[in-house]
């Protein structure tokens, strides 16, 4: 857990970033920051299932796609963003709920394989459903305008993303520190013991599974507006792997860990692109693989593992 000062210092730095780099040749950092922020939201979403409950999910990017395409299609129909954002979140959760009802009785590797399959199917459906998604040609998304405020450049989206990350962090922390959050972790630790301690395991798995998609749907909608364009190629298998890696690298079930994981795994390729010659960039996945192998070997609990809350024990004695 970050200390109070560190936490607010980091937040201040994040808020000041666009002002500091404005007009300099570092201004691309705002865009990098936005990309990292979207990864953070996705990572925090996956953290509900992979982190708290321990359900392996290799197709999470599909729900990012559902959010993005819901936004793109909604915008094409001229819906207001005030409707589109909730709609994107709701659609993502709905699809996830339907999937969860059918596959959550699977465990471990089997669940991973089926979610991976779903991720690919979702992409192929989008690719082939020309009438609705315009297939591989992709869809234009009109400029985001909320209550007369037009999102003209990266700075606007950057702040929207920072605000969303904060909201997601708050939601994660609050769910974590509740009877539901404790029940999730209990399921991860020992499913049989959790059942017999009175936890409706299937129901709570489905709840975590569905809630995680809210984050993906939100990120997807922001992404669609920001890019102004969506295509199936943005939602490939590699992206799902990236999000899983973010959670594993940072520490499963650890909010600050996920944020750090996203910063490293999603930020570093962008920075490598800026600083290193193109010959090096081709090796970046190799570099990722190396990081993950090293973490698994030497720090399996992640870079910033989750810490359990300490209670005041003196009150009763």
């Amino acid at each position: 857990m970050l200390s109070f000062v560190k936490k607010w210092g980091l937040l201040a730095a994040a808020l000041l970033l666009p002002l500091l780099v404005k007009g300099t040749d570092l201004s691309y950092l705002v865009r990098v920051g936005g990309i990292v922020g979207l990864s953070m939201i996705l990572g925090l979403g996956l953290n509900f299932t992979l982190g708290y409950v321990g359900l392996f999910d290799l197709g999470f990017i599909a729900f990012y796609a559902v959010g993005a395409y819901t936004a793109a299609i909604g915008a094409a129909y001229g819906l207001s963003p005030l409707i589109i954002f909730p709609l994107a979140i709701a659609m993502s959760m709905l699809v996830r709920l339907a999937l969860g009802v059918t596959i959550l009785r699977l465990r471990g590797d089997y669940l991973a394989v089926v979610t991976m399959g779903f991720g690919e199917i979702a992409r192929l459906v989008i690719n082939n459903l020309d009438a609705i998604t315009n297939g591989p040609k992709g869809m234009q998304v009109a400029q985001l305008k909320v209550l007369g405020l037009a999102f003209r450049n990266n700075d606007y989206f950057y702040y929207l993303i920072v605000a969303s990350v904060l909201l997601c962090v708050l939601a994660s922390k609050r769910m974590e520190d509740s009877r539901i959050g404790r029940a999730w972790v209990a399921i991860r630790e020992d499913e049989v013991a959790a059942k017999l301690a009175g936890i409706p395991v299937a129901q709570l798995k489905l709840l975590a599974f569905t809630l995680s998609a809210a984050f993906a749907g939100l990120a997807g909608a922001i992404f669609a507006y920001w890019e102004g364009f969506v295509t199936p190629e943005s939602f490939v298998f590699w992206e799902s792997i990236l999000i899983v890696s973010i959670v594993v690298l940072g520490g499963m079930g650890s909010v600050s860990g996920v944020l750090l994981g996203a910063l490293i795994l999603s930020g570093s390729p962008q920075l490598m692109q800026a600083f290193l010659s193109s010959a090096w960039i081709n090796y970046r996945y190799l570099f990722f693989g190396l990081i993950l192998v090293l973490v698994t070997l030497f720090r399996p609990q992640g870079l910033l593992p989750s810490k359990r809350r300490e209670a005041e024990l003196e009150t009763l004695q």
């Binding site: 939601a171 209990a186 936890i199 409706p200 009763l316």
Partner: protein
């Protein structure tokens, strides 16, 4: 201990795994406030019996009524909510949660806040969380572990892990507590402490059913003893009656002595 009203009644209960009759034709009545021990050689079907009662196995035949309500076929968590809690032969704690949190998890079925309460930190949610914590602390104190509340379960001593499992089970407010070999791996002093704890649990108004191998503990604690062998109940009675029973001696020592 005078026995109260019928709490649980198993009739003609059977659990078969293919051709293996893990338990068969078991009839058992438990009355409120009793401490009943189940004994029998290894593989006699004791743990299977517990598993059927708590919903882990569905049961092949027969019925279990708990307070007049049929419970076989219900999910584990529903049975727990009705008031049957248990511990495990091989300790099953939530290892990476603190001792206090382990007990707090046990309060799940007695609390109700779901999503909006936690997200918006509504007053009802705060109150419920405070109540969960208070109840969990009270139970940790009851099993003598309050000072270990912030220690991760995996880092607790063996004896404390056993106690913590009992505290977690008690947190579900059971009417019937099922203990699967609670003194396994304990030395005589620890066993005695555990016997004292079981008595205090009984004094809280909880009926206790336990599997136990240490005969000293069984003789000391039980109002009644039930003996299993090869999946069937071969004897039942007071501890004294049971140890004198020819079928029990035969089951443990063999015939022709």
């Amino acid at each position: 201990m005078t026995a109260g009203a019928v709490l649980l009644e198993a009739k003609d209960l059977a659990q078969h795994f293919g051709g293996l009759k893990a338990i068969d034709q078991v009839n058992l009545t438990l009355r409120e406030g009793e401490i009943v021990s189940v004994i029998g050689p290894n593989g006699a079907g004791k743990t299977t019996f517990f598993n059927v009662m708590t919903g882990v196995y569905p049961g092949t035949r027969g019925s279990i009524e708990f307070q007049g309500r049929k419970i076989n076929g219900l999910a584990c968590h529903e049975i727990t909510a009705l008031g049957i809690a248990r511990t495990f032969q091989n300790i099953r704690l939530f290892h990476n949660m603190t001792a206090l949190e382990n007990v707090m998890v046990g309060r799940h079925c007695r609390s109700y806040q779901r999503i909006l309460g936690p997200l918006l930190r509504l007053p009802a949610f705060r109150q419920e969380e405070a109540d969960i914590e208070t109840a969990a602390k009270e139970l940790l104190g009851f099993v003598g572990m309050l000072s270990s509340g912030n220690i991760l379960a995996k880092n607790l001593s063996y004896g404390n892990q056993r106690r913590l499992e009992i505290a977690r089970a008690l947190a579900t407010e059971p009417k019937l507590l099922i203990l699967d070999e609670p003194t396994a791996g304990m030395n005589p002093t620890e066993s005695q402490d555990l016997v004292a704890l079981v008595r205090r649990i009984q004094a809280r108004g909880v009926t206790v059913l336990l599997i136990e191998h240490q005969m000293r503990v069984v003789m000391d604690i039980s109002d009644r003893v039930v003996v299993f062998d090869y999946g069937v109940k071969i004897a039942e009675g007071t501890p004294k009656e049971v140890v004198a029973d020819a079928r029990v001696i035969e089951a443990y020592l063999g015939k022709g002595a």
